[in-house]
Subunit: 425 residues, 2 copies
């Protein structure tokens, strides 16, 4: 199989992929909504029809993962079950049901010289998507890129190679039956990591790289890319329980933010508690956390209130645990909380629990994060939860898009100008 490819082959292989994707992108930009939605429905049907074949191919990836000694958590992420395949089909149908972003004229104005200038939403062109080992992401990415009129080159986790190639084949063929160019959905067919570096050089062909993964991996991608990159990396999220908070509500929301799925980027890592309610709130809340197996690392005041907590070090405020560990700091004011979040946060997802109108407004305005919550769990920073049907990732940078990346984030606006002979003087 292609895994024995040499460096030179890799370069040719990538050249071929990107050139074909660019050709397909031009056709994609002009596809009607009817064709795109028909393709999405056919893709959903194909997934359901081929459920057995897909789980059989997936079994090969799973067997290899076991041989290679991957953790059970990794193996679970890699697994395609009938339920997961059903969810993928469901996701594609949801994308079909969303409005087509392409061609929307978001505004139009008239200039003194009579020119009418409008902004029209258009596809980006060719998107390269580099992601981790969950094959179900493949269908979401294919669906979002198709609906937004883009061609996409997928590069999933190497452990999922066979599952991903089978998925690509199935989805591209189903889309082709509706009139979508098959080259608009490509999958890099090799696991060799050098292929990523080849891909990152193709700025003549690729308009955007979306990269999901750990901080170190993403830094490598950014350092090597000539193509604009949107990163999906670190999430160090805070919940701040204000002096004027509904404490049972605070306990529920903060518990959810930490415990419901601790391994993801929008889980809470640090809890900030106003001194005025700390003694009343923390002992019982921490007891509840302990019951869920959460380890507490607290500031000195926290440790006084929760004797079984260990002492937090400076490093704790900077650490994305992605685990059942929580750092807790008691603060004297909203300003101190804002200062802590500005200093240590990753600017992804932060929440305040308060009943005070003015405090809520200041937090909303002054916290510089992709998603700022009042009285809700940080865990909601997610494309599905926001109503986008699916997401390509969660942008942890500010340019182009912040937070969950739905259809609109895969588009750009071009200017369209209606004249009647105007010249510049």
């Amino acid at each position: 199989m292609a895994e024995q490819t040499t460096g030179e082959d890799l370069s040719g292989l990538v050249q071929n992929l990107v050139a074909r994707a660019q050709m397909a992108a031009r056709q994609m930009a002009n596809l009607s909504t009817t064709i795109k939605n028909d393709a999405l429905k056919r893709m959903a049907e194909a997934l359901e029809a081929e459920e057995g074949a897909l789980t059989a191919v997936n079994a090969r990836d799973l067997a290899r993962a076991r041989e290679n000694g991957l953790s059970s958590a990794m193996i679970d992420r890699l697994r395609l079950t009938p339920k997961r395949i059903g969810d993928m089909a469901c996701g594609l149908r949801e994308i079909a049901a969303l409005p087509d972003p392409i061609g929307e004229v978001t505004r139009m104005w008239r200039r003194p010289n009579g020119l009418e200038i409008g902004t029209m939403r258009v596809p980006l062109g060719v998107i390269a998507f580099i992601y981790e080992s969950r094959p179900n992401v493949t269908a979401d990415a294919a669906g979002l890129c198709l609906k937004s009129g883009n061609a996409v080159i997928l590069r999933g986790g190497s452990e999922a190679l066979h599952s991903n190639l089978a998925l690509r084949e199935l989805l591209a063929k189903a889309a082709a039956a509706a009139g979508v160019p098959e080259d608009a959905l490509q999958m890099v067919p090799v696991t060799d990591r050098r292929v990523i570096f080849e891909l990152l050089k193709q700025d003549k062909y690729v308009d955007l790289v979306v990269a999901r993964g750990g901080e170190q991996f993403i830094r490598t991608v950014v350092d090597h890319s000539r193509i604009p990159v949107i990163k999906h990396d670190k999430g160090l999220c805070h919940t701040y329980v204000d002096a004027e908070a509904d404490l049972p509500l605070a306990a529920n929301v903060a518990f959810n933010a930490k415990v419901q799925r601790p391994s993801v980027c929008n889980a809470m890592e640090t809890l900030l508690v106003h001194r005025a309610i700390a003694a009343c709130f923390l002992p019982s809340f921490c007891e509840r956390l302990r019951g869920a197996g959460v380890e507490i690392r607290g500031c000195p005041e926290t440790c006084e209130l929760v004797p079984w907590a260990s002492a937090a070090t400076e490093a704790d405020w900077e650490t994305e645990y992605l685990d059942l560990i929580l750092s807790i700091k008691i603060v004297g004011s909203l300003d101190e909380a804002l200062e802590h979040i500005a200093r240590y946060g990753s600017r992804l997802s932060d929440s305040i629990i308060t009943t005070n109108y003015h405090t809520a407004r200041r937090f909303l305005r002054e916290v510089d994060s992709a998603a700022v919550f009042i009285n809700a769990s940080t865990r909601f920073t997610d494309g599905n939860e926001f109503g986008f049907g699916a997401e390509l990732g969660i942008s942890t940078q500010k340019l182009h898009v912040r937070g969950p990346m739905g259809l609109e984030s895969l588009t750009s606006l071009k200017y369209i100008i209606y004249g009647e002979g105007q010249v510049r003087t």
Copy 2:
């Protein structure tokens, strides 16, 4: 003066600049519109009040430019005249009159679980702006970044160093009198080019690099940057005169696109003419171009109609002349014109001249350029002409913004979410 700085000094100097800019950016994000507009008006007044001092400092740059043998075109661009200083002041007052983009909630929707999710416009943070030798750009950049709530680090052309430092001093002090942090407007005080590479490493501090300049220079910036870059480089613009065109209108618009200011990115470089009207249109139109000193390089058919034209080579279709030279190609159909533009264009500014509704609509939809015109000059792709008051540059890429970069292009959208205790299940 600082020009003798060593490599180590440069690194420290840049570290200091970016750290101070980041501190200032946090304050900038929370400034009221009143303070920002007051600052812009004071900046305009200061320019007018210090006109004499500015032209005196500018004279030093001009003298040095003459010593170094710069072209008269370059020297003209470098010059600050009372008229140009007045225009800069005028530009700042126009920016003051524009609505403040920050804090705008562009939309808000309710989810089934009762969460209300909105998108709020926020500043990008710290912008590094690398540009060429026109000191009047300095005031535009300072004004746009201030109004959009960003801190900015300016790095103008080295020939304009003294003028730019004087402008920065004047503008930052005037803004400070209104309550704007002085560190929000920084100017790199050295001409050493290594400082650019230092700047491009500061991804912890700088959120966006906007780079204006030649294609080679921009490629170097992109290759070395860890920070997202918006490029303003090549413009290879087309005008297509359709078979069903108002020919006198076509001649006026195309003449303007080529001749009014040939040295800029939105000037026309290639004229495409439908075969059906070529014999009727080209001879007299080319005569008019000849009268303005334009050299013609034509396809074989063009050369038959215009005997004094020279023969275009393949390289001509790919060349941004930035000069009084025009390549002309006769095409047999709209499709052939679209194909030519897709193959050779730089996707900046392209125009069709036609009276046919269907042809106009197809051109508008299918040409993948930042600005697509019907019956108007490509020269209008410009922030002032679009009504943005000024522009930081003209984006020649698709991510984040295409075309003229006004206030909105210097912002991002964050999600704000109002809950009442929602947790994720």
